[in-house]
């Protein structure tokens, strides 16, 4: 007992200040890229050729699809003019798939739910996770949102054991053929009104598995999606940012 108390005392309070305080990322952290088309040479397609998932439409400016992006920096390294650069910005969740196509340093971040939905979910959102072919990278980061560092439950958000207890589902993975039926059934089991959140490049577009005949290339192939969270996998703060935007729980700046 004393040992337990002593250990507990040594551990102390470990939850980060977010969203009130600032967040820090290491220098090499690969967050949301920015695109500066004015630097592009005519006809240059280096970035598009370097991209392993075909996330870039060459042009001036090139258009980068964050839904397909693995944040690998191959385009950044390939660009002779520094037109694409990586930033430490972790904010990139969007409400529409089309909002993930970026061609500057700007993007339309996720808007909050309407007032009626916020009344329902704003202070208590229960989610069921469905892994539909994910590699366990995104699932691992979802688990991390629950640990003391990020402490998801302080926002009233919780992952629950059954879709019957849930207000929505959070999908990771590209939706494999073998998980499609289970995903549909889980979605149907959630009482309406319900939310669907897709997290990670796989759930947004198929990610590293784009082109495989065994997958359906993203959650919106099977169910309607309300929030898209890019990343491979998304940093826990990217997931939190998306959820809090949806619920309008981020401090107003």
């Amino acid at each position: 007992m004393w040992k337990l108390l002593k250990t507990h005392f040594h551990q102390g309070y470990r939850t980060i200040d977010y969203p009130k305080g600032p967040v820090e990322f290491p220098d090499r952290f690969r967050g949301r890229p920015t695109v500066d088309g004015s630097k592009c040479a005519d006809g240059c397609t280096s970035c598009a050729q370097a991209c392993p998932t075909g996330a870039i439409q060459p042009g001036s400016p090139p258009v980068l699809d964050l839904g397909k992006c693995l944040f690998c920096q191959e385009c950044v390294n390939a660009c002779p003019a520094n037109a694409i650069t990586s930033t430490k910005n972790h904010k990139m969740a969007a409400r529409k798939r089309s909002d993930l196509f970026i061609s500057s340093s700007e993007m339309k971040l996720a808007a909050a739910l309407d007032e009626k939905a916020r009344k329902l979910f704003g202070r208590s959102l229960k989610l069921r996770h469905v892994a539909a072919g994910d590699c366990n990278g995104c699932a691992a980061e979802l688990i991390v949102t629950n640990i003391v560092t990020f402490d998801l439950s302080r926002f009233g958000i919780q992952f629950v054991a059954s879709p019957r207890h849930a207000d929505g589902i959070l999908i990771t993975g590209p939706v494999t053929e073998n998980m499609r039926l289970a995903l549909q059934k889980t979605y149907e089991a959630v009482p309406a009104p319900k939310l669907v959140i897709a997290a990670g490049a796989c759930a947004l577009s198929g990610g590293p598995f784009i082109g495989s005949p065994e997958i359906h290339h993203g959650a919106d192939s099977t169910v309607p999606v309300d929030l898209y969270v890019p990343g491979c996998p998304p940093h826990p703060l990217t997931i939190l940012d998306g959820l809090l935007r949806l619920l309008d729980r981020l401090p107003k700046t």
């Binding site: 040992k3 250990t7 920096q73 994910d134 590699c135 366990n136 699932a139 640990i147 494999t176």
Partner: protein, 496 residues
């Protein structure tokens, strides 16, 4: 009999025509069974459709005492005599061959599909097939999954129970099947590392290292000592993150919440170090054929040493608390035991095998890269239960810490990446890595042009899932989450 197999070391390649081919399939199977009887492990057995349209089986046997991999091949028709009845290690490999190529292992006792690929042989999905059933009064079935209660990957578990007691568990996976092996054979070389890194998201370093080593063996690329050391650092960080996380999760499963809270956070320290090094918390983008893509500059090395020492101090206290609390011991001791006999029969690998007393670790038996110079002691236990698996992990954590401190203090100088050129034609390259779950094996076979003709990925989970099923026998069904967590196997790594 040795001329049925030729030997390679870990991370070596050989031309296909130098690998012995036994014409008589039955004789070939006899030799494999005899060698396994003598103590070699069946590390791999897979099919490949050759240019002529026939199916060739390749077997890779590990002689852990001598540090050699023995490779042999044979050509099969529509069926071949199954090894499984006399060599249970082969059971899932043979099911896989049947599923991928339609060649039936005659006499296989449980010939079900493994991953249910959508084409060409099967249109069914996992779970839509008969399960092993027990007969008897008051015997009942419990079906769990594919969507589970926690944040976890999908799989279907079918328990045959009498009351709370489990008599048999059949595990049906395949829900995560993404067609990885087929993709690896078709994808452009530049895309390869990204698919590899998503085989199992908790083993990014393990798989990307195994892949890099196999490709380097075929291209003859030289990896600098500094890159080897950094690969070791990343591999041990990955091991630490997962072992620490799993001990925390075991705490959660027995209701010992403090360990769950502390370990959940401390696991993040290792992931954050990987992020400092590579920009990604799981080390994506770090290991590449020819070396590593990111160097560890002196300032970062210093910061790592401080972080590692601080984390070690905290973790020592946290783990002492867990392992010295009597109620914890009471919940872990004697639960989910696997006997040494079962362990050997099934060919278990990694901490699960070491917990049964099997003195086996790729880092020691088939040393690669930095592990040729830095020897890590192998930790074994005897009982094969949850407590043994937890204890093995606890001591592996201690050894990984020692390794990290030692390596980071004395990193060799030099570049971290060299060019990994074109692959040798019509050759086979093989690599083994001791990932945190155990033996990862990648085998790459090239065609006449030097393109990848067959890419075989084997995650340690492929061996160990059946170990979990056996560990559940005559246990309380309510202990399933705990026993499952003590193995913590990969669904994605199995399903590919």
């Amino acid at each position: 009999m040795k001329d049925r197999f030729s030997s390679l070391r870990n991370g070596q390649a050989a031309p296909l025509d130098k690998i012995p081919k036994t014409t008589d399939v039955a004789l070939f199977m006899d030799s494999v069974a005899a060698k396994v009887q003598q103590g070699w492990r069946l590390s791999n057995l897979f099919g490949r459709r050759t240019a002529s349209g026939n199916v060739t089986l390749t077997v890779i046997l590990s002689d852990d005492k001598e540090g050699r991999l023995w490779i042999g091949t044979t050509e099969v028709g529509s069926n071949f005599p199954s090894l499984t009845p006399r060599c249970p290690q082969a059971h899932l490999f043979e099911r896989e061959i049947f599923e991928q190529f339609g060649c039936e292992p005659k006499g296989h006792p449980w010939l079900k599909p493994v991953r249910f690929p959508s084409s060409p042989h099967s249109k069914t999905i996992p779970g839509d097939t008969p399960f092993f059933q027990m007969e008897g009064e008051e015997v009942h079935e419990v079906a769990v999954g594919p969507v589970h209660a926690g944040i976890i990957e999908p799989g279907h578990f079918r328990f045959q129970c009498h009351g709370e007691r489990v008599f048999h568990l059949e595990i049906q996976l395949g829900y995560q099947h993404r067609g990885i092996e087929t993709m690896l054979e078709k994808a452009a070389p530049a895309r390869l590392p990204f698919i590899i890194e998503s085989i199992a998201g908790d083993t990014v370093i393990g798989h990307s290292l195994a892949s890099a080593m196999a490709l380097e063996s075929l291209s003859g690329a030289h990896v600098s000592p500094r890159a080897e050391a950094l690969r070791g650092v990343a591999l041990e960080l990955e091991r630490l993150a997962n072992h620490v996380g799993d001990i925390g999760a075991m705490g959660a499963d027995i209701g010992f919440v403090p360990t769950s809270a502390y370990c959940g956070r401390l696991r993040g320290n290792f992931l954050n170090m990987l992020m400092e090094l590579s920009g990604n918390r799981h080390g994506r983008g770090l290991v590449r054929p020819g070396g590593v893509a990111f160097d560890l500059p002196p300032s970062m090395a210093e910061s790592f040493l401080v972080q590692i020492k601080n984390t070690k101090k905290e973790l020592d206290e946290v783990l002492d608390l867990f392992f010295e609390t009597p109620s914890v011991f009471e919940r872990l001791d004697g639960v989910g035991s696997v006997s040494m006999k079962t362990c050997k029969e099934l060919g278990l690998v990694g901490p699960a095998a070491r917990a049964c007393g099997q003195d086996q670790d790729v880092r020691k038996d088939h040393p690669f890269g930095i592990y040729r110079f830095h020897h890590i002691p192998t930790m074994t236990a005897e009982e094969g239960d949850v407590y043994a698996r937890a204890t093995v992990r606890r001591f592996e954590i201690a050894h990984s810490f020692e390794f990290l401190i030692d390596q980071i203090q004395s990193l060799p100088a030099g570049a971290v990446r060299s060019v990994c050129g074109p692959l040798a034609k019509e050759s086979l390259g093989v690599s083994l890595v001791e990932g945190w779950r155990g033996e990862i094996m990648h085998v790459v076979i090239t065609d006449k042009e030097g393109h990848i003709a067959r890419y075989k990925v084997k995650d340690p989970s492929f061996h160990n899932w059946t170990g979990l099923a056996m560990a559940l026998r005559i246990q309380q069904i309510s202990d399933f989450p705990l026993i499952n967590k003590s193995f913590n196997l990969s669904y994605a790594g199995h399903d590919l």
